[in-house]
Structures are given as structure tokens and as C-alpha cells.
Amino acid sequence: MIDTFVLSQLAIGVSVGMTYSIVAIGLTLIYRVLSAVNFAHGEVYTIGAFTTLIGATALKLPLWAIVPLVLLVGAAFGWGIERAAFRPFRKFTDEASLKSRAVREATLLSSFALGLVVREILDQVYHGEWLAIPQEYLLSNPVSFGGIHLSAGELAIGVVSVVMLACLQFMLHRTRIGIAIRAVSSNLIGAQFSGIDINRVVVAVFIVGSLLGAVAGMVVSLAYGNVQSFMGLTVVIKAFVAMVIGGLTSLPGAVIAGILIGVAEATAGIFLPSAWTEMVAYAMLLLTLLFLPQGLFARRRA
């Protein structure tokens, strides 16, 4: 017999895991196109949460107006990351130099540095404190069905994630730019010969990934009511873990692995003190890298 407390914990784990999935999708999209990791991606998530905070406290916008604001800021920030940390190192667009080790490591460090700068600016401005979203914006009403107790926010995370995944699937399969993204990630030279502009695709990937990340930040801040300048760091590392477990280039893999991590953390939370649950994702990363370097869902090695 599984009692309802455990089921509720698992449901919360799924909802937390979905935020990892959504952030992981941004990383995976970028990895598929550039074979590089965007270490500033966690700051997209933080920026989404802070935009929500500013929209709710300083601008006093209603909730329906905060959503487009977050989308706009997220997209602009993604474009800015590409412009500042990735574009300067992409001097040629042939495959060998685009995915060369030097460029990959330089962009890893430059995006890491950019993320650090953004994080520290937020830290300086808000003094590194946990800031609260006003009560009336919070999605904290309890929801229960079949004995599983959740807050509305946790349910909203799940619903919004599913909606975003559906939108992403639609975009990748039905729109011109989405098809271009898939073309570039599956065969770069072929895509170039078909007249696809690589730079446009890279920018599009950053914008789409950042939109998803910013919305995840928004929903999480509305669900839990807390915003802090370092909140993106742990999430992006777990998203990276999800990406590795999911096989680096596979979007469904990243989603499933993200949920897996969330559930594993929730399960560990039942048995372990909460401080140690942090370690679960890192242990999973090390085990995956050591025993399944291809990941769980790899189709081919990129």
C-alpha cells in the first residue's frame, strides 16, 4: 500500500522535475546546434523570476500582463547572451570551426562569466536576499484529487510545462524556423547548402530556449513565492544533468530525465534530511557519466 503522502511527494517531484525539463530543453537545443553548453542559461530562469517580481511589485501589473512581459524579457535576454558570449567566438560558419574544441571551451567560459556577472549584478542590487512575491499573485490554493494534495502552483507548473512542450513541438515541426533548426542540428553542411542562415538559426535557438527558461522561472516564482539571485544556478546544473542523462541531443530524453531527477529528489526527500537531497542529482550525473556516457535516450553520438 502506498499512502497518499508519498503519492503527493511524488507528484510534487514530477512538477519540480518538469521545471528541470523545461530548462534542459533550452540547453539541449543549443547543444544540438552548436555542440556547446550555455552556462548563462540558469540566469535566464532567474531573470524570468525577477521580471515577475518587478512586474508584481514595482509595476503592479496584473498577472495576464506579466506573462508577455516575461516572454519579452526572456527573448531579449537570450538574444543578448548569444550576442555577447557566443557570437564573438563564431568567426566562421563551417562545421569544423563552429564545433571546434577551442570555440566550445571559449563559449563555455564566456557564458559562465556572463552568467556570473548577471548573477552578481542582481545580487548587488537586491543584496542577495530572498524576496517575496506579493500574496495576491501566488498560486497557493490547495488542490487535491484522489487523495493527492498539491498546491495550485505545482499543478500550474505541470500544466504550463505541457503547454510549452506542445508549442515547442508545433514550432519545431510546423514552422519555417523550426524546420530550419532541425535541419541545422541534423546536418549542418546540408542545411547551409539549402540556403539556411546559420546565424539566424542560432539566434532563434537562443531565443526559444530562453523563452522556455524565463517562463519556467516565472511559474516557479509564482508557485513558491520566493525569488533570489542564485536560484538559477542549482536549476541549470540539474538541467544539465537531465540533458546528459537524456542523451545530450534528444528532447524527449531531456524531458523524461528531468522528471526522473525531480522524482528521485522527492523520493530521497522522504528518507533523507533535505540538505542532502541536493546531492541526488550530482550523484546521478556522476553515475551516468561513468556508466552510461551515451545517456539513456541517445539516438546517435553527435
Binding site: 556577472v117 552578481e120 546528459v244
Partner: protein, 329 residues
């Protein structure tokens, strides 16, 4: 091709053992003495990371793991068991070598970004462990009242004496790293960095050599941690957050990836820059982000590039087989 009489190594030793103490004595304030020691420890850390990240080409963020392991070994042993400095160093070197060999064995099969993220996970796990294993590490309180360095039954007091201990230690560590990097062995490690398959085909045991380099870097960092614990007399989990690793990596990159003089320059910059910025406020991390970013963008080879460093030491060591000029027929 040697200019006789000019030795970079000798000049550096004289600088460290005579000129800097003279300057410190002239300045006459314990603050500068303390600062000089922090710089020396930082130089050892950037040098050790440079061995791994520069010579072996593995981008690592795990400095705090071994540095912290060494520092906590020293703290726990000297506070609880009252051991002396050399015993602490020996214990820390043994422990970090073992842990480094195990971690290295597991990690070296990863390359580039995966190695970087795995070491980052290691660093965060270390911080979490230190913070939560209260029985052993005293959790967030940290260790206070670590006794100062004791050598051969003599307590090292005063900033000048402790400066000399640190400087000597730094010179020994730099000498070890210098001999490893500027040797046939160092060349082989560089060959693995440049092309692993090619090095393997030439008969180099690439994975084993990477584990060796990883273990060596861990041991040197562990010893640096002991020195830090004894000279600071207080350590806590806040000294070993992941950001400190990023700081050391910044030092390596700004100085010049793969060059030992670059690592020395990087270590100096890394400590003195935030000290200079202290007036403005707590902008240390922000300044580092900007410096790292600009350095990658504008100075990708660093202030003192690897090629220049290798040329320098070839000229400096004219009689070693490593630097003999061979004519290609």
C-alpha cells in the same frame, strides 16, 4: 642558445626570498605580510590548476575539493590531535592523493565540457558535505583557533617568519610543477591534450597519465590547503564554495593557459585585484566575471602565453635533454 648567467628561476627565488620580504619590512605592516601569504597560496593553487587545465587541457572547477580537503584535514588533525605542521602536510598530501586518484580514475575518461561540469558537481557536493557533516566539520560554524605553523617544535610567530615558511613552500611547489611541466613527461601530457588518439598510437598510456596529472594537482592543492588553514587560523564552508574554484580558473586563464609564469601572474592578479577593489565595495565576484569575460574575448592566450613560457624555459635550461635543439636532417 643560452644567455649564461640569466636564470629566471634564480631571479624568481631571489625576488621571493629577499626582495619581497625587504619590501614588506619597509612597508612594515602585518596587513601586507598577510596579503603576501595569501598571494603565495593563490600562486600555488593557480599553478596546480594550470598543470591540469593548461598542460593536460582538462577544464576543471574542482579546486575547492582538494584545497578544502587539505584545509579540513589540517584543521581536524591539529585542533583535535594537536599534530604539527609537517604531519598535517603529510596527512593531507596522502589523503588528497588517494581521493584525487579515485576521482581522477573516474573523471579522466570525460573530456572538455563534461569534465568541467562533472568537476563542478564534485565541488558543489563537497560544499554540501562540509556544510552538513556537522560531527566532523562543525558544519557552517567552521573551525576556529587552528594553531599557527609549528616546525620542529618551534612555533612560527610574527609575519616575517610565517612569510618565509609560505614562500619556501611556494618555491618547492613551483619547482615540482616546473620540473613536471618542462620535461619529456610534460611534453607527453601536452601531446595527449592536443590529440589523444595520436598520443595513444605513439604508445603513451593516455588515461593513466591523465590520472597521474590529476593526482599530482590534487596533492599540491591539498598541501596548499594545509598552509591556508594554518595561516588563516579559521576555515569554514564559505571558504570552499564553487565560486572560489572559478576564481582560480580565472587566474589560470588570465595568466595564460599552460604557462607557469602565467599562473604566477594570474595568482597575483587574482588576489590583488579584489584587494584594490575593496574600497568600492563587495564587487569581487562581479569584477572577476568581467575580467574573465574580457580576458577570453580579448586575450585568449593570456598575459604570458604557453609558447612564450616554453621558449623561456628552453632558454633557461640549455643543458637539459628536454631543451636540446635538434637539427632535423
Amino acid at each position: 642558445m643560452s644567455r649564461s648567467g640569466v636564470s629566471v628561476r634564480l631571479a624568481f627565488a631571489i625576488l621571493l626570498l629577499a626582495l619581497v620580504p625587504a619590501l614588506l619590512a619597509w612597508a612594515g605592516s602585518p596587513y601586507f605580510g598577510r596579503l603576501a601569504q595569501v598571494v603565495l597560496v593563490a600562486i600555488v593553487l593557480t599553478g596546480a590548476l594550470n598543470l591540469l587545465t593548461g598542460t593536460a587541457g582538462l577544464l576543471a572547477l574542482d579546486t575547492v575539493v582538494f584545497y578544502g580537503l587539505g584545509a579540513y584535514t589540517a584543521a581536524i588533525l591539529s585542533v583535535n590531535a594537536g599534530t604539527s605542521f609537517l604531519v598535517d602536510v603529510a596527512a593531507a598530501v596522502v589523503l588528497t592523493s588517494i581521493v584525487g586518484a579515485i576521482c581522477g580514475f573516474a573523471l579522466v575518461r570525460l573530456t572538455s565540457i563534461f569534465f568541467a561540469v562533472a568537476t563542478m558537481a564534485l565541488a558543489i557536493s563537497f560544499h554540501t558535505t562540509v556544510l552538513n557533516w556537522g560531527d566532523l566539520t562543525r558544519g557552517p560554524m567552521g573551525y576556529r583557533g587552528i594553531p599557527p605553523v609549528r616546525l620542529f617544535g618551534h612555533a612560527v610567530g610574527g609575519w616575517l617568519e610565517s612569510y618565509y615558511v609560505t614562500a619556501l613552500f611556494c618555491l618547492i611547489a613551483l619547482f615540482i610543477m616546473h620540473r613536471v611541466m618542462h620535461s619529456f613527461y610534460g611534453n607527453a601530457v601536452r601531446a595527449i591534450r592536443e590529440d589523444e588518439e595520436c598520443a595513444l598510437s605513439l604508445g603513451l598510456r593516455t588515461r593513466l597519465m591523465r590520472v597521474q596529472v590529476y593526482t599530482l594537482h590534487a596533492a599540491i592543492m591539498g598541501a596548499a590547503g594545509v598552509l591556508y588553514a594554518h595561516s588563516n587560523q579559521f576555515i569554514g564552508p564559505d571558504n570552499f564554495v564553487m565560486f572560489e574554484s572559478a576564481l582560480v580558473l580565472t587566474g589560470v586563464i588570465v595568466g595564460g593557459i599552460g604557462s607557469l609564469p602565467g599562473a604566477v601572474i594570474g595568482g597575483i592578479v587574482m588576489v590583488l585585484l579584489p584587494e584594490a577593489l575593496r574600497e568600492i565595495g563587495n564587487l569581487r565576484a562581479l569584477a572577476f566575471g568581467i575580467v574573465l569575460f574580457l580576458s577570453i574575448l580579448l586575450l585568449p592566450r593570456g598575459l604570458f602565453s604557453e609558447v612564450r613560457a616554453l621558449a623561456l624555459f628552453r632558454r633557461d635550461m640549455p643543458n637539459s635533454p628536454w631543451s636540446r635543439r635538434r637539427r632535423v636532417p
